[in-house]
Amino acid sequence: MKALTILNYQWKDLIRGKWIFGYALIYLLITDALIRFGGAGPKALLSISNVMLLLIPLVGMIYGALYLYQSREFTELLLAQPLNRKTLFWGLYGGLAVPLSAAFILGTLLPMLYNGMFFGEQIASILLLLGLGLILTLLFTGIGFWLGLAFFEDRIKGLGFALVGWLFLAVLYDGLVLLTIFVLGDYPIEKPMLALTMLNPIDLARITVLLEFDISALMGYTGAVFNRFFGSFYGMITAVTSMLIWLALPLYGATKRFRKMDF
């Protein structure tokens, strides 16, 4: 109950900052433009998922850390109140993660609704996309929180790690995977490569998008391991399970840290 009170206040505060509207507006404009100029086909969904894979981790991590710094006064005020730290943590986390998720979902969903795309044959793909965006938002906001708490006294370090972390997960990591593939390509490296992509949440989300939109290409690959992984429900289940583990990890780390911290 108290967590909800905190969440409710933080949500109002975010709205007052207007920043969240800008974030929703980005999705709204991109989605609207994609549908308007590219039609309501799978192409629009693919482009939206590309934007989502790029923007959500970046914004989640950076703003997750930044928000903690901005809420420092608020946190200190509440810590002296008869409140469980756990309650306070979830109130703070929800206060950011819920509006960010809502901004993404509404920004993406509204143009689909007024263009009539949502109730078309692609509804399953759209729901998957929205669900994935939701999990990604929760996940990367969690990582941002974790970083923010780890470097609570040093904002520059915290934000720096968030930015570098994003760059690493979004680009450099895949560079290493590509390099490994080209160096060790002649060995049976499919399983380790699959495992490697599971270790990066952005890759994990990307693979889930592939499973929905590029299954034709994935099934064209010669190799039993990939085919068994991608060709069955097993792939989707593994990907989603790994994603949930990824969601739990930073949040677990962050709550643990928050409960032990000195203010």
């Binding site: 900052g17 109140q81 409140l83």
Partner: protein, 236 residues
């Protein structure tokens, strides 16, 4: 009664509180003094649970409160540097804290009047002067009528008139039988308000006892002189 037993706090390699044993009697006012960085604020924050002690026990009215939170119902706290959510108005802040407290009965109206904050209610926290922020902090600490009040350098940012108002309020609270803890650099304030004195240096208690005993012991009329003597002894 607040009891600290073997309280220890390290920040990294730095020992801030070193095996602190302390009893703060109920229904009286206790002043904490000590040089800068001696561990006054850390002691207060440990009692509030803002700082997690490395070791030791904290008991309030006999009950162990380490890692608990419900006991803070009984405490009103006014921090040294009051920082509040900048976008909130004063009014909203009070309402919000009341919400968090589950709409406990509060006497904030009377307090607002006492501190002359009526004209500030609609203003956002970020536009408030330092003194008015301190007053908001004072209202927040007192509005739920807690049994224990902890003030960390309460009058530092207040003008003389407000300072007098504040002290008047503290005396009222004392008369009501509240337990009061305060830190300050202004010795006259302690003389005015406190019955007991705690003197901390480098995380260790150097003196703990009734104020008049200290004055007698050091054959001083004024606290300032007594404390200065203690500090000299410490340096020697």
């Amino acid at each position: 009664m607040i009891e600290l037993k073997g309280l220890k706090k390290n920040f990294g390699r730095l020992t801030v509180l070193d095996d602190l044993d302390l009893e703060i009697p109920s229904g009286q006012a206790t002043g904490i003094v000590g040089p800068n960085g001696s561990g006054k604020t850390t002691t207060i924050k440990s009692i509030l649970g803002l700082v997690k002690p490395t070791d030791g026990e904290i008991r309030i009215d006999g009950e162990l409160v380490n890692n608990r939170w419900e006991y803070r119902e009984k405490i009103g706290y006014m921090p040294q540097v009051a920082r509040y959510p900048e976008n909130m108005t004063v009014e909203e802040l009070f309402r919000f804290i009341k919400n968090i407290r589950g709409d406990q009965p509060s006497n904030e109206e009377e307090l607002i009047k006492h501190f002359g904050l009526e004209s500030e209610l609609k203003k956002r926290m970020r536009t408030l002067s330092g003194g008015n922020r301190q007053k908001v902090g004072a209202v927040l600490s007192m509005m739920f009528n807690p049994d224990i009040l902890i003030f960390d350098e309460p009058t530092a940012g207040l003008d003389p008139r407000s300072s007098v108002q504040f002290k008047k309020k503290v005396r009222e609270l004392k008369d009501q039988g509240k337990t009061i803890m305060l830190t300050t650099h202004i010795m006259s304030e302690i003389e005015e308000l406190a019955d007991h004195l705690i003197f901390i240096v480098e995380g260790k208690i150097k003196y703990h006892g009734p104020m008049d005993e200290l004055l007698n012991e050091h054959k001083e009329q004024r606290l300032e002189g007594a404390v200065a003597k203690m500090m000299e002894e410490e340096a020697a």
